[in-house]
Amino acid sequence: MVHWSAEEKQLIATVWGKVNVEECGAEALARLLIVYPWTQRFFDNFGNLSSPTAIIGNPKVRAHGKKVLTSFGEAVKNLENLKATYAKLSELHCEKLHVDPENFRLLGDILIIVLAAHFTKDFTPACQATWQKLVGVVAHALAYKYH
């Protein structure tokens, strides 16, 4: 089980409290598809992903980004129990979606960069360290049920 210090919990809650889940989620997913174009392989039915502009403006990307980051909010609420929280999603990503868990790490890193661009100097080194730990354990929980 992962241990979270009081300071880490505070940093997570403070940042999360100011996140616009729809905007951040859309941006994180768009950046994933732009910076690592091979990730588009999972989204054949999303329509036009032919350029950064197309991706950023794509309504399915925005909607799905919001969905993904909303789900991330469950992690913030269940820091002590991430494996259980993500058990079903883990099975889904393995058995139905067939997503290589490496992609969770990529998206996690991208989320950090989106937060940094959004919060600028308020995204201190301590903030980054805590949030990288969080995205890392979420990625681990999502990969946990893979077989």
């Binding site: 732009i34 910076v35 960069i113 080194p125 980054q128 990288q132």
Partner: protein
């Protein structure tokens, strides 16, 4: 592969780094040591406290080297040849989960936190490709 557009963006945005090599460089390292403590194992001889002279000077050195790479985007192998030797034969930083990827992530965060929304997806992508190419070049001679 870096496109012409990527190269333009890299040159354009590197202007914003010029003049701040020491500040940005030390921030990159500080974030890396805090976020990825395993990277500290390569610096047992350093004072790693916030603002230490060694971190400032090493941060400046790293960013200057990246600046040289920016000037030689068409020939990274040659521009980074000596550093490539250094990393392969002396420093031997683990290449598999290359600490350089971790440095790269912190570099993105420093640029994003200083440039805000100017650090657009296109600029982010161009720098990510650049940093990957640099890391690959530095790892070229490992074996």
């Amino acid at each position: 592969m870096l496109t012409a557009e990527d190269k333009n963006l890299i040159h354009q945005f590197w202007e914003k780094v010029s003049g701040h090599q020491e500040d940005f460089g030390s921030e990159v390292l500080e974030r890396m040591f805090m976020t990825y403590p395993q990277t500290k194992t390569y610096f047992p001889h350093f004072n790693l406290q916030h603002g230490s002279d060694q971190i400032r000077s090493h941060g400046k050195k790293v960013l200057n080297a990246l600046g040289n790479a920016v000037k030689s985007l068409d020939n990274l192998s040659q521009a980074l040849s000596e550093l490539s030797n250094l990393h392969a034969y002396n420093l031997r930083v683990d290449p598999s989960h290359f600490a350089l990827q971790l440095l790269g992530q912190c570099f993105h965060v420093v640029l994003a936190s200083h440039l805000g929304k100017d650090y657009s997806p296109e600029v982010h992508a161009a720098f990510d490709k650049f940093l990957s190419a640099v890391a690959a070049t530095l790892a070229e001679k490992y074996r």
